[in-house]
């Protein structure tokens, strides 16, 4: 189905079109949510919220943009907001006192298919990414875990390609600085 046709059907409240949209984007959105929120349970809740947001705001989608970029933008913004809320809640509950420990723990994957070492390394990278600034982390998650091109990331974040390049360049430098001390045991 053409994107335009799909949007038209979504706007008319076609449930089948909505299901089709879900089937196409569910994995991508879930992946982003897991990377940002570091929790499968929270990611599931976030995916539900994001799809409801898409459903109720499809009328506001400008057709000169790409649907994919728009959906990614909604997802990223939702995750960043959820993260900010979580950080605020954590601050007031004084859990931030053990924050360094938490980012590492929460980043650990619990998939039995993964080998222990892979789990460990991925959780180390994830913890290091969590320590980046919001802008750098967003660009890096879209690049590393979603495999988006610089152009696509620019569309999602509504910034220039040069700005994406610069953010990723800084993000990778920062990540490298954080990763090297964590990899001493490898």
């Amino acid at each position: 189905m053409q994107e335009r046709e799909l949007i038209k059907k979504l706007r008319s409240g076609d449930e089948q079109a909505y299901k089709r949209l879900f089937d196409f984007y569910a994995d991508r959105i879930y992946n982003i949510c897991v990377r940002f929120l570091n929790s499968r349970q929270e990611a599931e809740d976030a995916v539900q919220d994001i799809f409801c947001k898409i459903y109720f705001s499809i009328d506001r989608f400008r057709e000169d943009a790409r649907l994919t970029s728009w959906i990614y933008r909604i997802s990223v913004n939702h995750c960043l907001n959820a993260q900010r809320q979580k950080r605020r809640a954590r601050f007031f509950s004084l859990d931030w006192l053990s924050e360094g420990e938490m980012t590492l723990k929460s980043a650990r994957s619990d998939d039995p298919q993964d080998s222990l070492e892979k789990k460990e390394t991925e959780s180390i990278i994830q913890a290091a990414i969590n320590g980046l600034s919001e802008k750098q982390r967003t660009a890096l998650v879209l690049f590393r875990y979603e495999g988006l091109t610089y152009q696509e990331i620019a569309e999602v974040l509504n910034i220039s390609v040069a700005a994406v390049e610069s953010r990723l360049f800084q993000a990778k430098q920062e990540l490298c600085k954080k990763l090297l001390p964590l990899l001493k045991d490898f």
């Binding site: 879900f22 994995d27 879930y30 109720f56 430098q173 490298c176 090297l180 490898f186």
Partner: protein, 160 residues
């Protein structure tokens, strides 16, 4: 290139995002510096670039949950709309009913009942002509009332 600079650029180098000049400087340094080479190998082992990253798959039954949430939100929205309209609608309905009641009362009070009077007159005439009955006579002939009245009107004739 010194050690610090090399270590700063390692990930960018791994992703192939360094320009040719810096790239060759990095390669030269890594080739001769064992410490930086070790860092590079560790990093290479852990960080394999975006094409090696496994994508998390959405769990089964997520669609059912999304759909359920959507349906409940739709219901809430509809109720919310009604809740916002109702406070405006209620006084409006009351005012309309009041105006309608006042208008009906005024209209009824000012309407002469011509047709009813005409019908009553016709009925009275027909009864008079056909059955010789005065429909508005409270004591028609042959009735007990008339008999009593006759006694009162001519008491001498009836009662000796």
């Amino acid at each position: 290139m010194n050690h610090n600079k090399v270590r700063k650029y390692l990930l960018i180098y791994l992703d192939g995002d360094l320009d040719d000049n810096k790239c060759s400087q990095m390669e030269a340094h890594i080739a001769k510096c064992a410490s930086c080479r070790r860092e590079y190998e560790r990093l290479q082992h852990v960080y394999k670039g975006p094409q090696h990253c496994r994508r998390e798959s959405a769990p089964p039954f997520l669609w059912t949950r999304v759909n359920t949430r959507l349906k409940s939100l739709q219901r809430e929205r509809r109720q919310g709309e009604l809740k916002t309209v109702l406070p405006i609608l209620q006084p409006l309905m009351t005012a309309t009913l009041l105006i309608a009641a006042v208008f009906c009362g005024y209209f009824l009070g000012n309407t002469p009942v011509h047709s009813d009077l005409q019908q009553a007159n016709v009925a009275e005439e027909v009864m008079q002509q056909t059955f010789d009955i005065d429909v508005f006579d409270p004591n028609p002939p042959q009735s007990l009332g008339r008999a009593i009245m006759m006694i009162y009107e001519r008491p001498d004739e009836v009662l000796p």
